[in-house]
Amino acid sequence: MRTRIRERRLDDDTWDDLEETLLLADVGMPTTTRLLDALRSRAAADAVADGDALADMLGEVIVAQLEVGADRALALEAGRTNVWMLIGVNGAGKTTTAAKLATRALADGRSVLFAASDTFRAAAADQLAHWASVLGVDVIRGADGADPGAVAFDAVQAARARGIDLVLVDTAGRLHTKVNLMEELKKVRRVIERTPDVLREVLLVLDATTGQNGLEQARQFTEAMGVTGVVLTKLDGSAKGGVVLAIEAELGVPVKLVGVGESADDLVPFDLTEFATALVG
């Protein structure tokens, strides 16, 4: 795609190709139209003549539209209990992300505790427990079908008693359309907040192969849970995860981390410039 756009002179086809590139990256029509409109006026002002410059400029337009005010840092203060919740639809990669987040925190010299609040999916707690033993951290778990809020509560209490820095609460995957399950999630949040000032991040885990439904997911989870950031997983495939542009623009929820591989240390801070470059191709 890159060469196709870059090697040609500017004409209508160039614009069509750019549009197709963005659409194929799951950016979605409304955001694509907005970006291309912005690009058109800039290109006209700067008298851009070739596809190469135009593609570069599109990258800049994306960065310029999004970088405003987005705080992509994760809240983790030493010497106190920090709780991060991981939420998202089924199969987004929450449990794996919990393991990766723990790896990062441990590397920074923080102590970590897992809360296996996914008491619904068969063997989800076992999956987390596996990571816990690999990483040498503790996991608080309940029986299958136990109250996820109680597990989270116990974990927070345990972390405070043991002086642990970070509690990672892994929750069951749920579709954002399920009223009951969203209520259950809110309850977990309320239970954690019974201990004042410990919940520092509510991270929405989003699969990079997700299409436009990702925006609706983010909207619903944000409304219900006050999402503080997105972790974009499975970006090591050929999917571009372009829907996060709409999520950032429309909901103001920043992408904080991206998952780029299978191993526990394949979780890196989100770099907008890099992301934009990959999108434009």
Binding site: L24, M29, V89, N90, G91, Q127, D144, T177, T210, G237
Partner: protein
């Protein structure tokens, strides 16, 4: 807020319906709207192109059948094309000449293979009388084997695995099925990215080792543009025979289904529609097309309704409705019948012509329970004639049902609205022969909306 594909088509066709003739400009406008709608629905850009081109070609040159208006003609063309793309007929699993039949499930991480394996096993075992062995060949993801074991136990299907390697497990699993006399083997494999050559190679090895009768690609209904690349690459690696579409119970438009179908030509066999093991259905291309086009999944709904609605009961209620005697007791009956059809949120999505607000309204099934409790706390007299309910009765009902007097009031108000709606409906249906049954389907009584 994005519009659903159905809303968009609703909009276009409403405009078209209001015009007498279909001009080339109309066709262009339709084509543009269809393109936008399909893109919003996550249909792959390239699939959209070919789909829209086909519509344009057929619509522009179309002779309008005498019995149809030009607008109806376009609706017909779009629908036909959608059905054709989605597959036309309903696909089936292959029959093994000599058991066991071997089925391999493959797909990306998190697409829902393990859950689909258990759901498929349940359908084959319980509905088709097969004797299934589940084989856990996902040795990659921690506790994936354990997950399948737990699910297998739940549905009463044995699960086989061993800590060797995926190819060996698959091979040993088939041998184990032969030994145990099981008729079907379902092999759950690890999730893999289509660009991971090593893991794709391993999938090829599994295929070569067990020579499956069916190799099914499990695709998440929420997948975006990537669906095409995934399907193409998996199809190149192993001879796929079908698709399983998962997580269709969400509000994703499911454009991935169209994309995958178009590029692979493979039938979509099953659809995962919920969290529970039983939430697994045969995929119906024609119904999916109707649903996408805003005609609602009428077939499924009618079948479901027929299965649970007591015909005599329905007739009795209809008669009372016609006479304007619909009471809270009937309301309760209807509500209980509705509940048998499954969660309301699912039913509303299937209804044709449901306005967007209603489809997106949060339908809380717990609300149904509350309404039921309130009615149950009433005396027969109160149920027949709610006007007798005064302050002290209201308080008693609220206490008896564990609700508040405000909730009792709200419910009574709602019932009054339903009653009025029914009266106008039955009036409208009168005189139109044979429309009574339909009228009942179109506006199910008493949607407790929050």
């Amino acid at each position: 807020m994005f519009d659903t594909l159905a809303d968009r088509f609703d909009g276009i066709f409403k405009r078209l319906r209001s015009r007498g003739k279909l001009t080339p400009t109309d066709v262009d406008e339709v084509a543009r709207e269809i393109r936008l709608a399909l893109l919003e629905a996550d249909v792959n850009v390239k699939v959209v192109k070919s789909f829209v081109a086909r519509i344009k070609e057929r619509a522009t040159g179309a002779e309008v059948a005498e019995s149809l208006s030009p607008a109806q003609q376009v609706i017909k063309i779009v629908h036909e094309e959608m059905v054709a793309t989605l597959g036309g007929a309903t696909g089936k699993l292959h029959v093994a000449p000599k058991p066991p039949a071997v089925i391999v499930l493959a797909g990306l991480q998190g697409s829902g293979k393990t859950t689909a394996a258990a759901k498929l096993a349940r359908v084959l075992e319980h509905d088709q009388g097969k004797r299934v062995l589940l084989v856990a060949a996902d040795l990659q993801r921690p506790a994936a084997v354990e997950q399948l074991r737990v699910l297998g136990e739940k549905i009463g299907v044995p699960v086989f695995s061993e800590p060797t390697d995926p190819v060996a497990v698959a091979r040993a699993g088939v041998r184990e099925a032969e030994r145990l006399g099981r008729t079907t083997v379902i092999i759950d494999t690890a999730g893999r990215l289509q660009i991971d050559d090593d893991l794709m190679g391993e999938l090829g090895d599994i295929h070569d080792a067990v020579q499956p009768h069916d190799t099914l690609l499990v695709v998440d209904a929420m997948t975006g543009q990537e669906a095409v690349a995934v399907a193409e690459r998996f199809a190149e690696t192993v001879p796929l025979t079908g698709i399983v579409l998962t997580k269709l119970d969400g509000d994703a438009r499911g454009g991935a289904a169209l994309s995958v179908k178009e590029v692979t030509g493979l039938p979509i066999l099953f659809a995962g529609v919920g969290e529970k093991v039983e939430d697994f259905e045969q995929f119906h291309p024609d119904r999916m097309a109707s649903r996408i086009l805003g005609m609602g999944d009428v077939m499924t709904l009618i079948e479901k309704a027929e299965a649970v609605f007591d015909q005599d009961e329905a007739l009795k209620i209809q008669e009372r409705m016609a006479k304007g005697q619909f009471t809270l007791e009937d309301f309760l009956d209807q509500m209980r019948q509705m509940k048998k059809m499954g969660p309301l949120s699912g039913i509303v999505g299937m209804l044709p012509g449901m306005p967007k607000e209603l489809r997106q309204a949060e339908i809380d099934d717990a609300e149904l329970g509350r309404v039921e409790a309130i009615i149950c706390a009433m005396t027969p007299e109160e149920r027949r004639d709610p006007t007798v309910i005064n302050g002290s009765r209201r308080l008693r009902i609220a206490q008896g049902s564990g609700t508040s007097t405000q909730q009792v009031n709200a419910m009574l108000k709602q019932f009054k609205m339903v009653q009025q709606m029914m009266r106008s409906m039955t009036k409208a249906a009168k005189g139109k022969k044979g429309k009574r049954g339909r009228a009942r389907m179109e506006v199910p009584p008493g949607f407790p909306l929050t």
